[in-house]
């Protein structure tokens, strides 16, 4: 009788090469995704046992995780606290999502409107940040002096919670909505600048030598070499920015009010509709996940290795 186990779980080789030699810290989430995709099948041993394909196991694991989560939630809910159980939340969700786009005045709108207005704020604030941050990042990456000038400012301001900027925004704009957009702008700006600048600095000298020996025009250098070389870094910056922006918008809206998913959470807290808060948490999570996945797809489209 042979005692050799059929599977060799320790021998799962992981391809070490990331999609681009990105700054490790900034690209770690991309790498994590890439790793998930490239985990090789277990090394076949002498005799093969019929086993389910990889993805079936993954789906089973995911379902098991979700079931465990819901079960735990149910147990917590039955302890008699104020947390509504999964069943109650589900029923409330069915009601809410059956009419997501109703509007009964500014303080009572469907969840669809709330999510959309939050996304709109994120979109505007983030778009402005990209419009400012990407060119700034290019310049900081290209010119050492500018980089020296910007380094202390960025180092000082980057760790500041975006919400600390909110009063300044209210002061400047004297209205809640532009102040919220402004907070998104500020928090999206740093990742865009830093990643673009890192990307510009990481351009291999070989590519620049090609430009030099061919004596390419500045425009060609930019469109054919600088921009494509920096694009993966820029997308990483975009991904980090969007992630942070989506985190921040909820908090900003709680403080500023108006229409938006963050405000809705606060409103439902005031109404003591805890099941709606839980629905909002799930909605925020799912929207954030979709944003992230869309950008990961985009990043893969523009990775050249």
């Amino acid at each position: 009788m042979s005692a050799v186990p059929a599977s060799v779980p320790s021998a799962i080789p992981i391809r070490a090469s990331g999609p681009h030699p990105a700054a490790a810290a900034l690209a770690e989430r991309v790498d994590a995704v890439a790793r998930r995709k490239t985990v090789a099948k277990p090394v076949p041993t002498g005799y093969r046992r019929a086993r389910a394909p990889e993805w079936v196991l993954q789906v089973i694991a995911m379902l098991a995780g979700l079931v465990a989560f819901v079960a735990l939630w149910e147990i917590v809910a039955r302890q008699g606290g104020r947390i509504p159980g999964p069943g109650l939340v589900w029923h409330a969700a069915v009601t809410i999502f059956s009419d997501p786009f109703y509007s009964k005045g500014p303080n009572d709108q469907g969840i669809g409107w709330n999510v959309l207005s939050s996304l709109k704020r994120v979109g505007i604030g983030f778009g402005l940040a990209a419009a400012v941050g990407i060119p700034l990042g290019f310049m900081i990456g290209r010119f050492k002096f500018l980089s020296g000038m910007a380094a202390p400012i960025i180092a000082l301001l980057k760790p500041v919670s975006p919400l600390a900027w909110l009063p300044i925004g209210l002061l400047l704009f004297k209205a809640a909505n532009p102040a919220a957009i402004y907070v998104i702008f500020v928090c999206s700006l740093w990742p865009m600048i830093v990643n673009t600048a890192v990307g510009v600095r990481q351009i291999p000298q070989d590519y620049l030598n090609v430009a030099r020996v061919l004596n390419l025009s500045e425009w060609k250098v930019f469109t054919r070499i600088l921009f494509p070389a920096v694009l993966p870094y820029m997308i990483t910056g975009v991904r980090l920015s969007i992630g942070v922006a989506w985190l921040v918008i909820v908090a900003a809206e709680m403080l500023t009010g108006g229409v938006g998913i963050g405000f809705w959470v606060w409103d439902e807290w005031n109404n003591l509709k805890v099941e709606h808060i839980i629905i909002a948490i799930f909605t925020i999570g799912i929207v954030g996940l979709l944003l992230e996945q869309a950008l990961v797809l985009l990043a893969r489209r523009f990775s050249y290795n």
């Binding site: 070989d206 030598n209 030099r212 020996v213 061919l214 070499i225 070389a229 050249y304």
Partner: protein, 263 residues
Amino acid sequence: MDTDRYLRIDDVGMTFETKKGGFIAIERIDLTVKKGDFVSLIGHSGCGKSTLLNLVAGLLHPTEGGILLAEREIAGPGPDRGVVFQNHSLLPWLTCFDNVYLAVERVFSDKKNILKERTHKALAMVDLTAAEAKYPHEISGGMKQRVGIARALAIEPKMLLLDEPFGALDALTRANLQDELLRIVDKTGATVLMVTHDVDEAVLLSNRIVMMTNGPAARIGGVLEVDLPRPRDRLALASDRRYIELRTTVMDFLYRKQLKQAA
């Protein structure tokens, strides 16, 4: 025009500024290359042969002396010299065709269809017509280097500068590409300056081999005329007495006179 002194390297020296003061890479280099000549630079690593090539390419500027190509001083890099880099240096986001086209459209001001025609021709010369639409990561190392050669040749440069062009390839692919380069050079009559550390490659391809002493402050230690008739055939030469003599001379220079101390 003085075709006997097409490329003139006049008393050139190159000193790099480092934190510990000046580092003399090469000094007092004198060399002339005829039009249509094939000259190899050979020496141990660190002997400044790539520095010399980069000076001719214009990527570096000599701290002493001057370099003239076709009676004009080399002031910087330019497309009158086609450079093939050791690591191919193709842009990964462009197809093979577009990589070559980028160079072609820079140099010629023809209509678009003629530019494309030139690009197709250059890629056909290195046998890559079938791979035109592929991206660099989809083709082998040898094929990438061929695209690099096509890119350098497509701009019809006055000189072809090869920086250890086959150094990163396996032996069989290398032999294959050397034969291809021989054929192309015979056909186009290109003037070539090649850096190599492969003795066989130098003897097989060159008309003259410039042997460099060890750095720092490397100089030309000797110039060997390779008087083997062309076209040259690798297999026939392998047992050719003259070939073996020439090979031995270079080996003798590299491994007896310039034996590198274990670094």
